[in-house]
Symmetry: C2
Subunit: 159 residues, 2 copies
DNA sequence: TATATAGTGGATATTATAGGTCTATAATAA
DNA sequence: TTATTATAGACCTATAATATCCACTATATA
């Protein structure tokens, strides 16, 4: 039973949100992050390392060091974060490529020169992936933050 | 690195396609399915069992027994098959529910009576899930089969 | 320059799950 | 009754997620 984002993705998103939320201060140390999220420092730092390697955050070691966003929060999409943490494999990968059925579905109908060796099943699934990705591309760390502020104001006004 | 459909889902879809494609014959035995897909009988029968338990195929044991679709192929959606095999957990499940940050994001802004204890992150992810599901609901075993026929005719005409 | 601070990367432990096999049992047709 | 076929469950293995620990490196600043 796959098809679930890992906890690491969860943590990564929350960490980035924390960084974006307190961007007034330069650097947020792993201790503060760890405390805010309730995740161990060791494990969280692994995740932060990945985010750094992919240019989503910057890290500075030494006294008063820590992490900060490498880019404006509007430019960090959900899709990007997910792909960094989960990897970039496809949602659906054919595992029947040498089966009788594959020959029937993929090589039978389709003209040889067009999309060779891909049947409709694969194409439907790839479509699903693109659909999902498009949605995740449209949502950024900043867009979540905006909503939080909007709600806060609302709550204050009601008082 | 999650976020990938399991092979079982792959096999299930292909098996159903095979059943739908040869629905003239009453029952397709596990042997024929196994041969068509190139998957061991033992493993495939497990998958077929699941499909039966959820009312997607019917099975009859005994001589000349086998499987057939329990419903017309137009009524079997990709989503359904996927959910039977992969389970019905959500794409994203909060793992920070007792963290400092959760209190900040979820309980701070939102009015108490509305959606309690759900922040924007969760809502974005749930939106993604719904988006994906909608797409998968729109594609059925039959719709794939139709395309196969269309292509075949095309190929024949060209000759 | 010395030193405390803070991130990095590797090794390692612990589970959980996917993926797969095998066998005993139950149901069915001939 | 007997041959055939599906079912359920026990069982195994390899891989991956989750997590911790430690030795190392880089930096600010006193
Ligand atoms: S191309 Fe189609 S038939 Fe071939 S393995 Fe992929 S999904 Fe299956
Ligand atoms: S509701 Fe939001 S802040 Fe709370 S755990 Fe879920 S995603 Fe995180």
């Amino acid at each position: 039973m796959n098809i679930q984002f890992s906890k690491s993705t969860d943590y990564a998103l929350h960490a980035l949100l924390h960084l974006a939320h307190s961007k007034l201060h330069q650097n947020i140390g792993i201790k503060e992050l760890s405390a805010a999220l309730g995740v161990s420092e060791s494990y969280l730092s692994k995740i932060m390392s990945k985010l750094r390697q992919d240019g989503i955050v910057r890290a500075v070691p030494g006294v008063n060091g820590g992490y900060e966003l490498a880019r404006p929060a509007e430019q960090i999409t959900f899709l990007e974060v997910i792909q960094v943490i989960e990897g970039r494999q496809q949602l659906f990968e054919c595992s029947n490529l040498s089966s009788q059925q594959h020959r029937l579905l993929a090589e039978d109908g389709a003209g040889e020169s067009q999309r060779k060796s891909e049947c409709l099943v694969k194409r439907v699934m790839d479509g699903a992936e693109q659909h999902l990705y498009q949605y995740l591309r449209e949502h950024t760390i900043q867009s979540v933050l905006d909503e939080v502020f909007k709600q806060s104001n609302h709550a204050v006004n009601k008082k």
